[in-house]
Symmetry: C2
Subunit: 304 residues, 2 copies
């Protein structure tokens, strides 16, 4: 199962009661954070999460509201006694930006590993997460992330017995390894059913509604999408500042067909986003207004 | 009158319900902020203050919990339509540290002016504030600040009449200017009484209890002082990390004799500082446990 917590819902600047937009996920003990603006570490604590459990941080882009909380967060991760490395993923320039911010956090008890992404779509396999970073359209280079947890097919014990595969190989075969025993070669496809439906969360903020977003969010369990402006009276602003209205986000969701869409990254001027929810639900009914700390436990379809 | 707001009371890391330690003052329309850790801009908004009204920012030192909120704060000041310059004051290295943090806030609609301080005590006259920066004893170079609002003597109108000083010169003389009228020279001391008691706030965090602190806080209206640890079981930690216990802070206050002391910069492990208040009040009775948003309006003794 995959835990998903939307830590904040603000765009541009943090406000009392509205943390900046970021998202934390945990799968199989591995924590993945997307973005860390000012206050994200406090939002994590409010949500009952430990900063220790951050293994991967993905950055959409390097505007302050998405990364300025990083130095404080790194220090807090250190103060939570983490010694294992933390993997940072983000557009080109990542190492330069992070090292510049680290002027106030030069010493950490763990290593940072950098992975700079480029191109239109880049696939990454990270500690059980299959991540697609996809380039969106903002004022500066910006990426969205589709986070996938694949689900292997079912192991067919009857077939393994029938084929006479020794018991000691079963576990490895289940984990995708090919085993040899003298002249016998056993491959996973001999005993594994077709891959089953996995889990998928697609996250994108700070962009105009470009087609790649709907492609990447196709069939997601949760599509977390920016809705900077509630109504179409802000269409001009959305175009100028390279953001989206609720209506535009809903258009993407309608095309992508996720189980649900969570709107987030609200403009500070958008005081009551729920007042504009209808602008999205009339196009994509399963839209929810994101709230700080809103969470979901996603389970595989055949998981208890 | 001088408005004083303690924006936060935390040390080391921000916590839910406890912003990092910083202090905002306003005198004669000029806003002065001391330190801006992660979340200070949110704390200002919670306290009903506008980020537009920040004319001066003093930094005690460059540990992240005292400055990492700066890039977001600067952007918010810009978003609040400020175009007038902001003066930054802090220990040597200020411009380097600030420019490094500004990797995520490169463009601002106002200028930054830098004033790097050095030596044991440095006096600064800034837009009505008379500021003494004094070197304290922390793990890195760190300063405390004594913020003074001087109060001129009373203007003696009867004497001005008696001396035959033309009415048109009175206002300038009251503001300290010498005026000449043909062969007549009028100096302020001819018509002004002795200087009256001004206002004074002394602020220091992140230090061992060194004598200069008590000297600088002498007779302050408010002495805002760190109390990282509540009880003396943490004496060793206080010495190791160059901080103070409540008892040590109270010892300084006893020597300085301020009207009151506000304790702040509590360790994250110090969950209920009020439980340890007695460790300070038995030495200095007028000690208060700082709270986020705690404020005071200080008036001159003869002010309505």
């Amino acid at each position: 199962m995959l835990d998903v917590v939307l830590l904040g819902t603000g765009g541009m600047m943090p406000l009392p009661g509205r943390w900046l937009t970021s998202c934390y996920m945990k799968y199989n003990g591995i924590g993945l954070l997307i973005d860390s603006g000012e206050g994200t570490q406090i939002a994590m604590k409010e949500a009952g999460l430990s900063t220790h459990d951050i293994d991967i941080i993905c950055f959409t882009h390097y505007h302050a509201d998405h990364i300025s909380g990083l130095p404080g967060l790194l220090l807090s991760i250190g103060n939570a006694d983490r010694t294992e490395p933390v993997k940072l993923i983000g557009p080109k320039g990542l190492e330069r930006v992070v090292n510049s911010l680290r002027v106030v956090a030069p010493e950490l008890p763990f290593d940072l590993e950098f992975c700079e992404i480029g191109g239109e779509v880049q696939h990454l396999s990270e500690q059980g997460y299959e991540i697609d970073a996809f380039r969106v359209h903002h004022k500066i280079v910006c990426y969205g992330y589709s986070v996938n947890i694949p689900r292997l097919g079912k192991f067919d014990a009857a077939k393994a017995k029938e084929l006479g595969i020794p018991l000691k190989f079963w576990n490895k075969l289940q984990h995708g390894e090919t085993m040899t025993d003298g002249e016998s070669v056993y491959t996973p496809d001999m005993v594994m059913g077709a891959p089953r439906k996995g889990l998928k969360v697609t996250y994108c903020t700070d962009t105009r509604p470009v087609p790649v977003i709907a492609e990447m969010a196709e069939g997601a369990d949760i599509f977390i999408c920016e809705g900077m402006y509630g109504d179409s009276s802000r269409d001009d602003k959305a175009r100028e500042y390279k953001h989206m209205t609720f209506t535009e986000a809903a258009g993407l969701a309608k095309e992508a067909g996720p189980a649900e869409m969570w709107l987030t990254h609200f403009s500070p001027a958008l005081i009551r986003p729920q007042d504009f929810l209808k602008n999205a639900t009339r196009i994509f009914p399963d839209t929810k207004i994101g709230k700080c700390g809103m969470s979901r436990v996603l389970k595989f379809s055949d998981e208890e």
